[in-house]
């Protein structure tokens, strides 16, 4: 049982973070807190992706001792951490930044219009 727990601890962490983010999005009334919850939600998935690529004893995916003329030297892959999730997560991070940027801009316009960020007050003002 213990090794099952220790072996898979990164999955538990990402699920735990995800649920925190999920709760914040649903539970919290303040819109900024919802936004922070959304960020936690996104970042837990990025963390999960990075944890996929990890290998025991693997170093960062940079090929040393290569004069860089791009020849396909056979490098033993087990030495290096799997680079693909890292590349994917670059894009996911940029997407996260983009979403947060748009959401913050929305919050500013909402604040300018309703002078509050509490959801139930906004709903009352809308009706």
């Amino acid at each position: 049982m213990l090794e099952f727990l220790v072996g898979k601890f990164n999955y538990y962490i990402y699920i735990f973070l995800m649920m925190i983010g999920f709760y914040a999005m649903m539970g919290k009334r303040n819109l900024v807190k919802k936004l922070i919850g959304m960020n936690i939600f996104q970042w837990s998935i990025i963390l999960y992706f990075i944890s996929i690529g990890a290998k025991k004893g693997g170093s960062i995916p940079i090929v040393e001792g290569l004069s860089g003329h791009g020849a396909h030297i056979v490098s033993h892959a087990s030495q290096y951490v799997n680079p693909l999730p890292h590349v994917l997560m670059l894009t996911a991070i940029v997407v996260g930044v983009g979403t947060t940027g748009v959401a913050l801009a929305l919050l500013i316009t909402i604040y300018k219009k309703y002078k509050t960020l509490e959801e139930d007050e906004i709903l009352r003002k809308i009706k």
């Binding site: 999920f22 999005m25 819109l31 919802k34 959304m38 939600f41 996104q42 998935i45 999960y48 992706f49 996929i52 693909l84 999730p85 994917l88 894009t91 996911a92 997407v95 983009g98 979403t99 748009v102 959401a103 801009a105 929305l106 919050l107 316009t109 909402i110 219009k113 309703y114 906004i122 809308i126």
Partner: protein, 498 residues
């Protein structure tokens, strides 16, 4: 193949991407150049998508390796019959909506037209990219491009738009993250992101828990993106308060592209047998879809605002198509894919008409649409054609997709779905005749008051009217020639195992 034949798939996406960044620069310098630039960009994409569709028709699927890398490593654009049909659909409707948006943007959002056009092109790039790409993660990137520009476009709208857009942001991000999670899970198990590649690796992995979890995450994520019944909460507010040219672009295409992704993943990545025998996915989906149809129609009945009524009808139409897909037999799937095309056209036409009415009269309440048939005769004529097509009156295209759906339901021998499809036809009839009645027949006091209220004809501006009329004629032609479209494209889409 000569030189330029090869590179058209990438032209569809990259030209509009670059032009969408060109427009803000021109915006500072010479404002009135933005609209022609946008038109050029999308017509180039339309031109290249037509060529691509033509080549797919005669030479079969095209594969285009971005950066020259072979599929398992690099990203590839894989265009088969389903993609070709969707690309042509997306580009043609975007072009028509763009032409019609010039006037309504100048009236509704006078100072925001430069960002509008660049975001419009970015949204188009996202949609075209989703439909063209053959790589799972690349599809996520295009999905996010489309969603982000959609969030921003919706937020430009009237007073309640930012709040509706914020709710759309939150829900849309959850959907996209679920999709990303399912890509991650598939990646752990199979080690590849390419759809065609996955199709080979997955069949012998169906019993592993990870693949089941990946499939369920994927279905929830895409259900949010296409506003399937329980997860459609964001759609009515977002599309009603968005400015009218924006809603006439997003409404017909965003949900249809979501459904395309579902079909692609359910039938092209995972084997159809997976979602029929292994997991009871099709039964669940078909029940959820039929509830979606009923709830969509009933809620639409309760609406007074014409545009909000159309959004609820769209929830029902999504249920329609998903029901066709979920019934998993040849006729039903043909009906579903044909309905994607028909419904996109009908919805675009209806939303453009609402935009024209908003532009001219500024009202959306159904019961205030008085004397419309004399004020805007052509617009109301197009509305009647689109309404008849939604109801399933034969010469228009709506009937033929309903015809295939009913055949599929009878083939699958579940009579409840046949009843649901026929019922939704009647619901649509009630919904649309309510509007036609108000628009065409003035109340009695207009007569008994002796003289006849003389109403001058002030039709919507030409640039708004021509796209509407083109779409109305298209609805009729698509109806008559649906047989040709099926034999040309949809025949090959249906997986051989049905």
């Amino acid at each position: 193949m000569n030189f330029y034949q090869v590179h058209f798939p990438i032209l569809i996406v990259s030209v509009t991407l670059l032009f969408s960044f060109l427009i803000p620069v021109f915006g500072w310098w010479k404002k009135k150049l933005c609209y022609p630039l946008a038109i050029i960009a999308i017509s180039i994409s339309l031109f290249s998508s037509l060529i691509v569709a033509n080549r797919v028709l005669y030479h079969g699927p095209i594969r285009y390796y971005l950066g020259g890398w072979e599929p398992p490593w690099g990203i590839e654009f894989y265009i088969d019959h389903l993609n070709a049909l969707m690309v042509v659909l997306v580009t043609s409707i975007s072009l028509l909506v763009l032409i019609s948006s010039k006037k309504s943007i100048e009236k509704e959002l006078p100072d925001k037209d430069v960002p509008f056009y660049s975001l419009f092109l970015l949204l188009f790039t996202g949609l075209a990219g989703i439909v063209v790409t053959g790589d799972m993660f690349n599809l996520y990137v295009f999905l996010e491009i489309a969603s982000l520009s959609a969030y921003a476009l919706i937020a430009i709208g009237e007073e309640r738009a930012p709040y509706a857009a914020f709710r759309y942001v939150v829900l849309g991000t959850i959907g996209a993250c679920f999709y990303l999670l399912s890509v991650g899970y598939l990646y752990i198990v199979t080690g590849s992101l390419n759809m065609a590649d996955l199709n080979q690796i997955l069949p012998n992995l169906y019993h592993s828990k990870v693949v089941l979890v990946a499939f369920s995450f994927f279905m929830i994520g895409i259900a949010i993106k296409m506003a399937l019944f329980p997860l459609h909460v964001w759609l009515p507010d977002a599309y009603t308060y968005a400015p009218s040219p924006v809603s006439s672009l997003i409404a017909p295409l965003m949900t249809k592209v979501g459904i395309y992704v579902m079909i692609k993943i359910m039938f092209k990545v995972f084997e159809p047998s997976f979602s029929i025998e292994m997991l009871p996915v099709t039964t669940i989906l078909s029940w959820v879809a039929s509830i979606a149809i009923i709830v969509g129609c009933v809620l639409a009945l309760a609406q007074v605002d014409l545009k909000r009524m159309l959004t609820y009808i769209m929830v029902a139409e999504v249920g329609y198509i998903v029901l066709g897909v979920a019934m998993a037999n040849r006729n039903a799937l043909t009906g579903a894919v044909l309905h994607i095309v028909n419904d996109a056209l009908m919805m675009a036409c209806l939303f453009l008409i609402v935009a024209a009415i908003m532009f001219k009269l500024g009202i959306r309440n159904i019961y205030e649409l008085r004397f419309l048939h004399r004020k805007m005769p052509f617009t109301m004529g197009a509305f009647t054609i689109a309404a008849l097509s939604m109801m399933g009156v034969p010469p228009a295209c709506g009937f033929f997709s309903k015809w295939y759906l009913i055949l599929g339901a009878i083939d699958a021998n579940n009579w409840i779905f046949v009843a649901v499809i026929l019922m939704s036809g009647l619901f649509n009839a009630i919904l649309f005749f309510r509007v036609i009645e108000n628009a065409y027949f003035e109340p009695a006091y207009a007569h008994d008051g002796g003289e006849h209220i003389e109403v001058s004809r002030d039709e919507a501006p030409l640039s708004l009217l021509i796209p509407i009329l083109i779409m109305a004629v298209g609805i009729i032609l698509l109806g008559i020639f649906s047989g040709k479209i099926i034999s040309a494209f949809i025949q090959f889409i249906v997986p051989v195992s049905f």
